[in-house]
């Protein structure tokens, strides 16, 4: 699905990602953990194509394509999705209109027919149930005045509607209450298939009780300091991050 090799990225003069290599196969879920400021969101944004980060070295291959050569919208149309750590507000634009426009752009890119507002309403109502959100949400402006938790759930609604091949969830669990956390995790589990993959950024082992990862990676200072199975998350929970940096870097 996605193959990241020796990826370096910086903002201005400052190097943030210092050689990341990672491979995720279709059907897999990988988790990324790591201290604040270690570069998790940067990795997520670079994969989605944020113009504020400069990739200085390395390659990313996505289903055989050179991902880094694609514009952000092309990536999205090709099935890459980023659930933002800080979802952006767009006042005055209804959630329904925004979602339908995005949905139709992706359909168009795939050579499929666009959905009219009524057809789309059917699709979206079914998806709303998956994330246990109220239909009233659709008539509100995109994220404007949403609570922190509502914003995160809205990201999951978008995920559910756009049905990506490769989804990155950047701390989607932060700011969610226990019930919402379970709903989000259930949503992801239901969307999980043999032909898609997830990269889940989180600070909490708790989430990984619900979304069970195939691999866990620990990002420290722009590098993957350690990788392991789902037990690694438990170990981190107990021992913190210090021991990871102290011990020699493990292979990925």
């Amino acid at each position: 699905m996605i193959h990241i090799s020796e990826l370096h990225a910086s903002v201005g003069e400052k190097e943030i990602l210092k050689g990341i290599s990672l491979e995720i196969a279709a059907g897999e879920i990988h988790a990324i953990m790591g201290p604040n400021g270690s570069g998790k969101s940067t990795l997520a944004q670079v994969l989605a194509g944020h113009p504020g980060y400069e990739v200085t070295a390395g390659t990313v291959t996505y289903n055989g394509q050179d991902l880094l050569a694609m514009d952000p919208e092309e990536r999205a149309q090709a099935g890459v999705f980023l659930a933002f750590q800080y979802p952006v507000e767009i006042p005055g634009v209804s959630n329904a209109y925004f979602l339908r426009s995005a949905y139709n752009e992706i359909r168009k890119a795939r050579g499929e027919a666009e959905a009219d507002p009524l057809e789309f309403l059917d699709i979206v109502s079914e998806r709303l149930k998956l994330v246990d959100l109220d239909e009233a949400m659709l008539n509100r402006s995109v994220n404007a005045g949403f609570s922190g938790g509502e914003k995160k759930r809205n990201e999951i609604l978008q995920l559910a509607v756009l049905d990506p091949r490769f989804a990155i969830l950047d701390e989607t669990d932060s700011g969610l209450d226990i019930d919402a956390l379970r709903i989000v995790a259930d949503g992801v589990n239901r969307l999980r298939r043999k032909d898609n993959a997830f990269l889940v950024v989180t600070h909490y082992q708790r989430l990984l009780n619900y979304i069970v990862p195939d691999r866990v990676h620990v990002l420290v200072d722009g590098r993957i300091a350690r990788s392991g199975g789902k037990e690694l998350a438990l170990e981190l929970e107990e021992r913190g991050y210090d021991w990871v940096t102290a011990e020699p870097v493990a292979g990925v």
């Binding site: 989605a48 514009d71 999205a76 767009i90 005055g92 634009v93 426009s101 995005a102 752009e105 756009l162």
Partner: protein, 477 residues
């Protein structure tokens, strides 16, 4: 701001073509003889000529106002031609007699003048340079007693109405540009809706400046008699020319007791090129007088013109009158807009609402100038003003000049203002969902303008939204 966004705002002005047509034009210059010549060409009655001459003499004593926040080279009023009419323009028996070249012009502008082809439910008066070239659905409207015709025709056929209301809201002495207009106005639209009649369709006028070095001075007068309702839309375009052209219009609205007048404008005069060459200087006086229990609502989407100077206002004369002003003003490249409104509360329990959305891109400069005045007798007057600015890029400007004058202490006046910037993060968020940069900008801007767009008649809301996309394309820098 990313260079990509910069590409989004500079799409070609698609209405910039000109029509090669023989015209009956007066040579450049302005004096009493010119005023008389215009009146004579229009075969006007004596009272009309007298009014023009009074206006002209007044104008000669006035000086051009310079208090607005716009800069432009001095206008040489002697270098402008004050009258240009397509030579074939004689009273038309029917629209089918219209010069095919002119009809073709309106077709290219997307305004078909064949009645059967028209948007259902919209009657159109088309003004080409100085004269009205045709009004559609006239007969249909007559059945309801609604008069919708060119101003010139109204002077001939309904002199009693014109005499009664002309200048009753904007006197010829009102300001420099209004005085100039009163002296030399050549045509425009006239509407009268009788007592208790709800005008059965949207009325609209499309103004087109074609001739070079010609000023356009049209005058619109709309009278809604007691309990009547009318919704009116004005659209404007002009060819691309490298020199500036002057447009100084006057619009007067009269809403008698319990009447409603809704006036919408989609102004898309040529704005000049990226370097700021050419474009229309748009100095317009628009005002309505609202009598007891009536309502006047202005909605404007201003995307064109090199300079816009315009303050659609409402005099809330009668008790319980309502005034509204909803505005979107977009400036890009070197455009300058100084626009806003005046709400003058005279009667008791009068209410006004102002929603202004200014969008500045490129090196554009946008100013909101609004006045809310509550006179001593206007007990319980209420005003709510919301004034939002959006900046696209770092070289543009947004300015707000609110003036509030309250002479009755039972009044409640509220003002809210905000300034925001289209952020790279908003655009990236849209792109990360598969939308193009262009779609992103136009979506963000439409969202910002939503409160105003929802006031536009349905048929035109879409047009306005598209226009906005075009105006902003390639604009961020």
């Amino acid at each position: 701001m990313s260079s990509e966004i910069e590409l989004l705002v500079n799409k070609d002005y698609q209405y910039g073509f000109s029509t090669d047509i023989e015209a009956d034009a007066l040579p450049p210059g302005l004096n009493e003889g010119v005023v008389r010549a215009i009146s004579e060409r229009k075969r006007e009655p004596e009272w009309m000529l007298e009014w023009r001459l009074k206006a002209f003499r007044r104008w000669q004593q006035m000086t051009e106002p310079h208090w607005s926040n716009v800069n432009y080279p001095a206008i040489d009023y002697q270098a402008i031609s004050y009258y240009s009419a397509p030579r074939t323009a004689k009273p038309l028996g029917s629209l089918d007699e219209l010069d095919p070249k002119i009809r073709d012009t309106y077709d290219r502008l997307g305004i078909p003048l064949h009645e059967q082809k028209l948007l259902a439910g919209v009657a159109v008066d088309a003004v080409f340079d100085s004269v009205s070239v045709g009004t559609t659905y006239k007969e249909e409207l007559r059945k309801h007693g609604v008069i919708f015709c060119s101003f010139g025709e109204a002077v001939q056929e309904h002199p009693e109405l014109v005499r009664r209301y002309l200048g009753s809201v904007v006197p010829y002495s009102d300001n420099f540009f209004a005085a100039l207009n009163s002296a030399v106005f050549s045509d425009g639209s006239f509407v009268y809706v009788p007592k208790g009649v709800r005008c059965p369709m949207e009325l609209s006028t499309y103004f087109r400046i074609n001739a070079a070095d010609t000023g356009q001075f049209e005058r619109t007068l709309i009278v809604a008699d007691e309990g009547a309702y009318v919704s009116y839309l004005e659209g404007c375009t002009a060819p691309k020319r490298s020199t500036n052209q002057l447009h100084a219009a006057v619009v007067e609205l009269v809403a008698l007791d319990r009447a409603t007048v809704k006036y919408s404008t989609v102004q898309n005069w040529y704005a000049g090129d990226e370097e700021g060459r050419g474009g229309i200087f748009n100095f317009v006086t628009k005002r309505g007088k609202a009598f007891a229990g009536s309502k006047i609502s202005w909605t404007q989407v201003e995307t064109g013109s090199a300079i816009t100077w315009k303050y659609p206002s409402v005099i809330l004369q009668g008790d319980h009158a309502t005034g509204e002003f909803y505005s979107v003003a977009v400036v890009n490249n070197h455009q300058q807009a100084d626009t806003g409104t005046k709400m003058i509360h005279v009667g008791r329990n009068t209410k006004s609402t102002i929603v202004s959305k200014g969008i500045s891109a490129g090196r554009g400069n946008n100013s909101y100038r609004g006045q809310v005045k509550v006179l001593p007798k206007a007990a319980n007057a209420r005003n709510y003003t919301q004034c939002d600015s959006m900046l696209i890029g770092n070289r543009c400007g947004a300015h707000t000049f609110p003036y509030v004058e309250v002479q009755n202490n039972t009044a409640i006046v509220e003002h809210e203002a905000s300034t925001s910037k289209i952020g790279e993060d908003q655009i990236f968020y849209c792109k990360a969902r598969g939308l193009s940069g262009e779609q992103a900008v136009s979506m963000i801007v439409s969202g910002f303008c939503r409160e105003v767009f929802k006031e536009l008649p349905m048929e035109f809301a879409l047009e306005a939204q598209q226009l906005l996309g075009i105006t902003l394309e390639g604009s961020v820098g």
